[in-house]
Symmetry: C2
Subunit: 411 residues, 2 copies
């Protein structure tokens, strides 16, 4: 697997992208609309929020996915989520797709255009800005890394960094590329899919197999991160495959499918970790590995319980090896285990230290533990010794800035 | 029902209490041990944490409760939770009860003494301080309101206020009194019982009926609050009844039992709300009422989802009527409902304003909504219009001070 430096949604063959300032956000100089376009029809796969309250674009995309038609483009906006906007919001959303199809011309129909929105819940889309943005985007489409980067920047809200990743793998004689972008910084506790992410690949792959790979990879990547335990109304992970790599189509499980799945998992995990690390107000990425669980599901529950605990998150922020909070979070997760069998180790670029052996403190150095916790990326490894299953979850610390950002998000 | 001004654990007949500085906490001048004593044997009821990781005192109290013996005293300490301390911790805990029984003299046995601890997880109890504290407490026991107040102060950790409440009700010709104290400010997400709370009553009541009343009242009071979604390892709610009121013993359900149950519910709810309002770093009490749910359980789930959302909590801190976060939190709670039927109103001493009608924004004034949210106690009322069930949950806002307190709790 080859990692493509600065690669994103335009890394795979046949994809163009653009970002634009349409004037949706209060700060008019900030880009707020993005477009990803394939020069040929794509099969599509996707996963969407499980929140009962679903934004208008999520409802429409799910419908299009269920119909199984090919698609050509994804148009996205930041600033307004178009959630809790009722029938008028659904009309706005349809119009956004129609405006995009019109701007693209060349026989692209509205039903081939997916939509995604992120931002404030409850506000209506400013349709004049959306129309203007669609025209700007269609005119600016390019297949360069820079164009992909501009699209990634245009979907940011409280994100401090755009999030992109691309890799290529050999499939038979052909080179298949997978690239993607994502946004997400707050209201991040994906449960099925997450935030906004568009991933493009030039692989030729059967639609059902693509969906299977996407659903599986989402479980171990986007669904294993959390910034604030708040599952958004707009979570959408959209994956397009346009077949331009010229590989022998992947139509069944086997070596090619496995390679493709691994590369897709890498792209999704990389984007997911970037999201966790850039969680609202975060100063560091916090990874929790739970080993020795009886089932994978229990490992997932315990790992997510650790990274979502406000008390663990504030201790990580304070570089405080307050391990009791980690055992406490495992304890209330709903997973059954014997606390007096748990081992706990923390690890980072600064070193590794075992804090707990069989449920009780080791004779560790607080000073060294603080040093380990002071790194930009910190991992806690808990071994429950109940079985052979394992899971990894990613989150971030809870800081003053999280409170600051969210106490006056709209003002 | 008569509310007793400044009443607490000594309000009911036959109870003495004391607080003392035993030297467990780093700040040696802060009281850190408390004792509640009944001059005659009591029947006992209680509920305890559902966390798999249970502190030594919780394990022992649960055993004593299961045995059904009468009890005479509860000794409590703050500063060290005696959780994750293994067999040595269980020995320390037994010794704490034994030291207390010895200091009390007069034929009180260790098995008649309950224990409760709160503070840092993983640290051992300083047994010399515990022994010294037990002696100090036994010498200082008094039946005054001041003595009850000192006990309530001695169990505080990050609490900024002691939490006490007492009421009296007529039961036949007799006057029955119920009084209690509680502590809890962080790691508050009770699930079955909560934090430390000792409630005393002079009622003569059958032990099984007392337990039934306690379990029922805990569900609607302590179990409906959350500061940080972290269910502690030490949650204990202990209720003692010594029969000194001289009422005709309550041995079956009926008018007397109902009156008693209502008074107990009032004491528990008052203490629970005091805990939520004094949540770590909190600037205000936040109450969520969910109406129109299909079942009580769904109302409970949705109400707790609202008060535990970090995004809702930070918006409440910022006096920001960001109602989309409330609908979002209901939406991911797991409860099924039609978002386009939900009405949402906020209310406080400053007034009342409907923000949402049928899932969409009303034409409310942001300025007035901010004024409503600026009060010390704010209520959000969501009507799902799916049925007739209702629940109320209490939490607090998420502030800079929460992060500050928890980033360096141990230092």
């Amino acid at each position: 697997m080859n990692i493509i430096e600065n690669g994103g949604v335009t890394a795979a063959k046949g994809y163009l992208a653009a970002g634009a300032c349409a004037g949706i956000k209060k700060k008019k100089e900030r880009p707020d609309m993005a477009l990803v376009f394939s020069s040929v029809p794509c099969v599509m796969a996707g996963t969407f929020t499980t929140n009962v309250v679903k934004a208008a674009p999520v409802r429409r995309d799910m419908e299009l996915l269920a119909r199984g038609n090919n698609v050509r483009a994804v148009i996205l906006n930041s600033g307004v989520a178009n959630a809790c906007t009722g029938l008028p919001g659904e009309e706005d959303n349809k119009e956004m797709a129609a405006e995009c199809a019109k701007a693209l011309g060349g026989g692209v129909s509205a039903d081939e255009v997916l939509t995604a929105s992120t931002g404030v819940i409850g506000a209506r889309l400013p349709m004049d800005a959306i129309g203007r943005g669609a025209a700007l985007l269609a005119g600016a489409l390019a297949g360069t890394a820079q164009a992909g980067h501009e699209a990634a920047c245009a979907i940011m809200t409280t994100d401090t960094q755009p999030k992109e990743c691309a890799v290529s793998i050999p499939v038979g004689e052909a080179k298949v590329t997978i690239g993607g972008m994502a946004k997400g910084s707050g209201m991040i506790h994906p449960n099925m899919a997450t935030m906004l992410s568009v991933i493009t690949t030039d692989a030729a792959i059967d639609r059902a197999l693509l969906q299977e790979a996407v659903s599986g990879c989402v479980k171990d990547s986007f669904n294993m991160i959390s910034v604030d335990r708040d599952t958004s109304t707009n979570d959408s992970c959209i994956v397009l495959a346009n077949g331009q790599a010229g590989n022998a189509p992947i139509t069944e499980k086997g070596a090619d499918y496995e390679e493709f799945r691994k590369a897709l998992a890498f792209v999704m995990t990389t984007l997911a970790k970037k999201m966790a690390a850039d969680g609202e107000g975060a100063s560091k990425l916090f990874e929790a590995v739970v080993k020795g669980a009886r089932t994978k599901e229990e490992a997932v529950i315990a790992a997510k319980s650790i990274i979502t605990s406000n008390l663990v998150k504030t201790a990580v922020y304070g570089n405080d090896a307050n391990w009791g909070r980690i055992l406490c979070a495992m304890g209330y997760s709903g997973v059954e285990f014997d606390p007096y069998q748990v081992d706990l180790t923390i690890r980072s670029a600064a070193g590794e230290v075992q804090l707990v052996k069989n449920g009780m403190a080791t004779d560790y150095s607080e000073e060294f533990a603080t040093k380990v916790l002071s790194a930009d990326e910190v991992t806690a490894i808990a071994d429950m010794k109940q079985g052979d299953c394992e899971a990894t979850a990613w989150g971030c610390d809870l800081t003053y800035d999280y409170v600051k950002i969210n106490a006056d998000y709209r003002s």
